[in-house]
């Protein structure tokens, strides 16, 4: 069945893509060859209610005007109690049903762990193989602890809005330091100049080259500039010789597999009879690879 779906993916069959994403999200291993060309992967993060879905809806229009095909992977939190989720992002992303250059998919992010869905990397690669030129990832919010998405995206866009506390709020670790572009959203609201100035000050102190752009999805202010910026920023090289990144990915993968066997209850059986932690680690490693 998998081979059939992968053949469908090559032929740009959307149903095959949709099905493969479901399988990947469930943790089914899907082996993909190298892609013909590299997609531009953009991640949009920020607190709930800051306008991530709305902005992505507007960005879809901008990218379509530039004749780029766009896949959106919208992550929303899953309940830690029931496993249920209400995925309500695409509702704010108007898409024309006959435009085959846009694909929107809602994904549940395991609550309390990450701001993006598990196995998102495989899902991104599936969209890339299908031929989408731009892949937009919407995180489940939070804004903090979104470091996973940084490994995956070429550009991380952080959304902030005016009137969200004093300048100390921006100083909190993890928020500004993951961003490549900072959007002060809802720029039609009062207080936007002050927010932009404060954030620019913080960015200058950090010494990183981060653009700070006021944008309003309501009035359209700054949208074209943002879209242009996002298509111009350099892609992150995905070379196999980048050991830091490889190690990071390896660590994440081992952790993920470990969690899976722990969750399935198989861990107890694997470490059974192993007296020391070293022996347990060996047994788990043997099981993992």
């Amino acid at each position: 069945m998998l081979d059939e779906l992968l053949a469908g993916l090559k032929k740009k069959d959307r149903r095959s893509l949709a099905r493969l994403i479901t399988l990947a999200a469930r943790g089914e291993p899907i082996l993909l060859g190298p892609s013909a060309r590299q997609a531009r992967v953009l991640a949009v993060t920020g607190s709930g209610g800051v306008g991530k879905s709305t902005l992505i809806g507007k960005l879809i229009e901008q990218f379509r005007a530039l004749e780029k095909s766009v896949a959106v992977l919208a992550c929303d939190p899953e309940s830690p109690l029931t496993g249920g989720a209400l995925l309500g992002d695409r509702f704010r992303m108007p898409a024309k049903p006959d435009d085959t250059g846009v694909y929107i998919r809602s994904l549940a992010a395991r609550s309390g762990q990450q701001a993006v869905a598990e196995h998102l990397e495989t899902i991104v690669r599936l969209c890339e193989q299908f031929g989408f030129e731009i892949i937009l990832i919407e995180t489940a919010g939070a804004g903090q602890g979104d470091t996973d998405v940084r490994n995956l995206a070429d550009v991380v866009v952080l959304l902030l809005q005016p009137e969200t506390g004093d300048d100390l709020q921006w100083e909190k670790a993890g928020l500004l330091e993951v961003a490549d572009v900072i959007v002060v959203h809802k720029a039609d609201l009062p207080g936007v100049e002050q927010a932009v100035a404060q954030i620019q000050g913080m960015v200058e102190l950090s010494g990183r080259a981060v653009a700070v752009l006021p944008v309003s999805s309501k009035t359209g202010q700054g949208l074209a500039e943002l879209a242009r910026k996002l298509t111009e920023l350099p892609l992150r090289t995905r070379s196999a010789s980048d050991h830091t990144q490889l190690l990071q990915l390896l660590k994440a993968e081992v952790e993920r597999r470990y969690r899976n066997i722990d969750r399935s209850g198989a861990l107890a059986t694997i470490v059974q009879g192993k007296a020391t932690n070293e022996e347990r680690v060996q047994a788990i490693l043997e099981h993992l690879v």
Partner: protein, 135 residues
């Protein structure tokens, strides 16, 4: 592998703006452990079919309070057939006159839930008709 959550697309088709009912249903299905994709108001049958296809949904629930169900639901079912999605099952909710219910079922709708339906009834129906593979 553990049971996989059902993927359910919920949408309002047609021009009425009454989304209270469908939002209550969305919440009940979420609390029952399902993944609910809420597509929102004023959807055309074409919009909804695209959403169901791209989201790889198991179920589609549409709500109509406008009286246009005998026009829009047949169109929706026809588009689903044309899009080669025979596995996707369709629920209809909202204000549906008693005499139209058998006609909708005849066309291929799995079930019609009117106002006042206890939420567990909808949850149980989805779970039971989806088989053991799903939560």
């Amino acid at each position: 592998m553990a049971t996989e959550p059902l993927r359910v697309v919920l949408a309002k088709i047609g021009l009425d703006g009454h989304d209270r009912g469908i939002k209550v249903v969305a919440r009940a299905l979420r609390d029952a452990g399902m993944h609910v994709i809420y597509a929102g108001l004023w959807q055309t049958p074409e919009d909804v079919v695209r959403t169901v296809a791209d989201e790889d949904a198991d179920w589609l629930g549409v709500s109509l309070l406008s009286g246009a169900h005998m026009t829009l639901v047949p169109r929706l079912l026809q588009l689903l057939r044309e899009a080669n999605m025979p596995d996707v099952r369709v629920l209809v909710g909202g204000i549906i006159p008693e005499e139209d219910i058998p006609k909708l079922l005849q066309m291929g709708v799995a079930r019609v839930f009117g106002p006042g339906t206890p939420l567990p009834e909808i949850v149980d129906f989805l779970k039971q008709s989806s088989g053991a593979a799903h939560a």
